[in-house]
Structure formats: structure tokens, C-alpha cells
Amino acid sequence: MTFYLALSVLLFCVGLAGVLARRHAIMALIGIELMLNAANINFIAFWRHSSAADDLSGMFWMIFSVAIAAAEAAVGLALVILVFRHRRSVRLDELESLKG
């Protein structure tokens, strides 16, 4: 069990590090996807180790989160493309018209 949890922790933090360190918007998106996947590992692991026999809640969490992740990816990429049309670049550190 600890193995899965540790794995998910590491995956979550790798994703977070990617979001924080990479300049490219799509890479940030990839990071977010990894973070969501980290949660999924937990859900499946907890489902497998759950005490109630007919408890499928972990499974359903995972299914719904996958759907949400897909929707998020679609919207996020559309936004990235939109920004790219305006600026011809999707470097995150160049997005600073809004501040103060």
C-alpha cells in the first residue's frame, strides 16, 4: 500500500515541478495531467485495499476523474491555441499584461 501512495506522491510532485518550472504552457498542462493521474493511482489502490467487498467508489472516482481530465485538457488546449493566435507564443513568462 505504501508503495502505491509513495508512487502517487512522487508522480504528483513531478507534475507540480513541471508546472512550476517549464515555460511552455502545454508543458504546464502536461504537469496538471500528471497530477490528476497521481490521484487516480490512489483511488485504484484504495479500491483494491478497501475493506468493503462491494465498494466500488474508488473505481468510480477514477472513472469520473478521467472524464474530467479529458475535458480539462480539451479546454486548456483550446485556450493555449487562442493565446498563441494573439501572441504567436505561449511562453508563460511572457503573459504579463495583467498585473498589479
Partner: protein, 490 residues
Amino acid sequence: MVARAVLPEICTAFLALLVLTVDLAWLTTWSESARKTLLCVVCTLALGIAWILLDRNWEPVAIPTLGWMASPGVTCLKGLIAALTLGSLWLSRESSFTKHVGEYFALTLLAAVGAMILCSTQHLILAFTGLELLSLSLYVLTAFHKDRALSAEAGLKYFLFGGVSAATMLYGFSLLHGATGELLLPKVAMKLAAGPVEPIAVMGVLFASAGFAFKISAAPFHLWTPDAYQGATPGSAAFIASVSKLASFALLAQVTWVGWNPAGVAGNASLGSAKPGWIAFFAFAATASIVIGNLAALAQSGFRRFIAYSGVAHAGYMLVGLIANTQDAAYSVLYYAVTYAIGSLGLIAMSAILENRRGSDAISGFAGWMRESRFLAVCLMVFLLSQAGIPPLAGFFAKFYVFSAALKSHGAPHGVFWLVAASLVASCVALYYYLRIVRAAFEARDLAEAGQAPGMPALWITRAWIGACALLLVWWGCFPDKLLSLLRGS
């Protein structure tokens, strides 16, 4: 019975699809404003008729397996959400920004469905999907002004911040799920109270709280707020500021009061040191919000960003009520959220008029407002003073309820006392910046010098919404229990 409990959501969702179909099928050749007007009328009529036909005298319905809970009070809250949604839809007529009117309306209404779901769910998966429905629609709505680079930038920033927060929140839920194995808030509370709280449960609660802090824009998770408000069109900004905040607070109140209450299960108040760490976290967030929100609001020269920062401060005040964690406090936070949402809708409508009139949303543009439209100036004053918490207005009672509920709680009297004291001191600072705008509006300004004719180019319908909001704030200020009994459903 079940149908009645989810009727508002079903109506709104169907309306969204209907509007989309109608627009795409028949209206594509019309002008943008005509389409907006027609769709606004359709939405208003549909929601209005639904509201009139709705039976409001029934016993509360709880469907435990679905984690659904509805009552006349909750339905009233949803009615308020519908009304605020309509307000922001009508407000979208103030500016021209898109050719995809049907999509805009459909997305706004779908977001409203998400917001309504948040009001009555006690199911963690449903709560998360509802939150995401709301958030995803909002990201798109923020970026909807496709010709504006600022709008796209705001949308992307909002999305990235929200995406990270959502992932954090989901991770928190996964840990919480692992520690408790439950999906329904009451059962989660029971599990949390049953034994010593495990570290992963604490972490889960903490991560989920961070996600909530993003939704309610509490510092230091507030950083998206000013950018999103500034970049979005007035209608979207109004929706974010009013509906999204209101629904998020409704959910958060539910979660903290029902799900994470350390003493939630009768007879087991002895959790002591093992209580989940969200109280400490929210105390931290509340303090930070109050300080940062008020200070930054003081420094703003743009009205939209000003609204955003003052909203951060208000989130801090509301968190003080949540920390108290009593039933009364939960209701008082709802009350606060409602008055805040109404005030924000009004203020953003003002900012829309300001931008149309002066070309920018600089606060200095309010000079001479009084001369140009007495009605708008007085309404502006009502909104600002209500947000500032001056007694005869609803905003004062919101603060009064929240703070007195906080002081009455017996969880951590001293800590809460200091928090309340700090809030009051901060609200004194806040008063200063609110008054600054009021004074600007009432100052004389030479119109000829500014090269502008008297009269304010605001649609009468916008004026009507503004007037209605101001009237509500005054009315609920004079009779505060009206709103409270509405929310309680009595």
C-alpha cells in the same frame, strides 16, 4: 419527490440546450445585440415561469444514496443563483464581444447548473464534478472575448491556476477517500470522528481545502482573481464574482459543517488535538486574505481589480465564520455570501458602465458621476457602503451575523476573538477605500472640460438590474431576517 429536488437543475440544463439550439438553428444571421436580447428574454421568461410554477411548500428531501439534499431554503438559494445568472446575462448586452451568442448563453447556464448542484450536494464525487462543471465553463467564459488578447491571457491564467488547484483538490479527496472510504459527507464526518485522525486524512483535508480556497479566492490562492476579473467581459466577471463565489461558499459551508466538523457527530466532541487541520489552514488563509485583500485593494487604480481585491478581503471575513463551525455560523456565511454576491453584481455592472463611458475602468473616472446620473451615483454608494458594512444596509448585518456567530462558538474563543478583532480593524481600513470611491463619485467635475455630454449611456435594463440589487441590499438591511428565513426555508 426526487424530481422536485432536482427540478431547478433540470430546468436550467434544458434551457441551456434549448438556447443553444434556437440560436444555432435560426438566429445566426441576426445582429449580435438582437440575438442577445431575444435569448435574454427567453431565459428570463423560462426561468421566471419555472420559478412561479415551482411548488415551494414541501418538506426537505434528502436522498442519502445520491448524496442529494434539497429543501425550500436550498431551492431559494438556487433561485437566487438563477437570478444572479440572469443579471449577468443581461449585463452581457452592455458590450459587444462575440458572434457565438448561443454558446455564450449555454455555457453560462451550464455553469449555473454546476453552481446549483453545489448548493445541495453532500456527495464528494458529485461535488467535484459540479465544481469542475462550474470552473471549466468559467475558464471559457473568461476567454470569450476572442478579439482581445487580455481576455485570452486571463482565461489561460485562470485555467492554469484552476487546473493546479483542481488537481490538488482531487489529490486531497483521494487521500481523504483512502482514509475514510466514504463518499457522503455525514459518513465522512463519522469516520473522522470515530478514531484518531490519520496523517493522510489530515493531508487530504488540507489539499482539498486548498482547492476550496482557490474557488473562494482566499489568499494566498487568490492570485488569479484580479487578472480574471480584469480580462473577462462584464457579464462573465459578474458571474464569477457573484454566482461562483456564492455557490462555492454554499458548498464549503456544507463541507466544513457537515463533513469535517470535529464535533459533528453527536456525543463525540473529544477529538481535541486530532481534529483535521482545516481550521488552522483556514485561519491562516483568513488572516492572509484580510490583510492582503484590504491592502492591495487600497492600492488599485482600476475598478475591476479593486473589486477583485476587496472580494479577497470579504472571503477572509466569511472564512472567519466558517472557522467558528456552528450551524448559525454556516447560515450567517451564506447570508454574507448572498449579500456579497448581490453587491458584486452591482459593482461589476457599474464597472461596465464606467468602461463604456470613460473608455477605461480607472477609479478616477468616477469623478462627476453624481452630476451625470444621480440614480447611478446613489446606487454605487449603496453597493460600496453595503460592502463596507455600514449599518442600515445588508452588508452590515452580514458582518454582524458572521462575527457574532464566530464569537458565540465555543471551539476556540480566544483565537476567534482575535481574528474577529483583526477583521474589524481591517474593515475600518476598508471603509477608507470604499469612501474614496464614494467621494470621487460625488465630487463635482467639469463636464465641458472632459468633453462629454451629460447623461449616462447605460441600457435601461442594466439600470433596472442595478436598481433592483441596490433595493435588495437596502430592503434586507432594514429587514435582515427576511433573507435569513428564506435561506432557512421557513
